[in-house]
């Protein structure tokens, strides 16, 4: 069951990677990377159950957090040209 979940995450991950490679605009890539982050968060949670030690969900939370902040940083870079801008 958990393995099936993990496999689903893996397939999704590959599909999203295809989008990242195909790209087109940068925003497509950012979007895809963000979705990939979500999938990985799910994957980490499932892996905890899969290996019988589900206590380590903190990692998933951190992952989600980093995913969010990273996306905000990239978007900020695109909108103002630097991370220190004030706009």
């Amino acid at each position: 069951m958990f393995l099936a979940g993990l496999i689903a995450c893996a397939i999704t991950g590959i599909l999203i990677l295809v989008r990242i490679v195909l790209g087109k605009t940068t925003f497509d890539r950012i979007l895809a990377v963000n979705s990939l982050g979500t999938v990985i968060v799910i994957g980490i949670s499932i892996h905890g159950f899969y290996s019988n030690r589900p206590e380590f969900l903190d990692i998933a939370i951190v992952y989600a957090l980093i995913n969010f902040i990273g996306t905000v940083a990239v978007l900020k870079l695109f909108s103002t040209g630097s991370l220190g801008g004030d706009k």
Partner: protein
């Protein structure tokens, strides 16, 4: 032969990753790319250590009263925790140097910069010589 290969194939991948990182560092002339390569190189070395620490059927080295199990080796984990932070420190310092270099030279390509440096170096020597000649006269 095959069984032993399966037992160590993970090492091979790690070694390949390491060498790709090392290639980026010593092969590429772009200063930012070199730092990226260094990150890849170091991350792969971390992977090597963690691979050493893995025990088949083991669990993460956090004691759990309810399960009586084999715990993976914690020592490599500690070493790598240290190494990760050291890696970030190196990256940060490298990036700040790249920023300064870009500001002073207007480029971060090694070929460009060494050409500029060479000109500077000769200029320096030549101008000094002419100044000295003036003194002599």
């Amino acid at each position: 032969m095959i069984s032993s290969t399966i037992g160590i194939w993970n090492y091979w991948i790690v070694f390949c990753l390491m060498m790709i990182g090392l290639f980026l560092v010593i092969g590429r002339k772009n200063f930012l790319k070199k730092i990226v390569g260094l990150t890849i190189f170091q991350t792969s070395v971390f992977l090597l250590y963690i691979t050493f620490g893995k025990i088949k059927g083991g669990t993460p080295p956090i004691l759990n009263e309810s399960i009586d199990s084999i715990y993976s080796n914690p020592l490599p984990h500690v070493l790598i925790l240290t190494a990760i932070v050291v890696g970030v420190a190196t990256t940060a310092l490298g990036l700040s140097l790249v920023l300064k270099i870009n500001k002073e030279y207007g480029s971060i390509e090694e070929d460009d910069i060494s050409a500029q440096d060479l000109v500077d170096y000769h200029d320096d020597i030549e101008t000094r010589k002419s100044v000295d000649l003036k003194f002599k006269q």
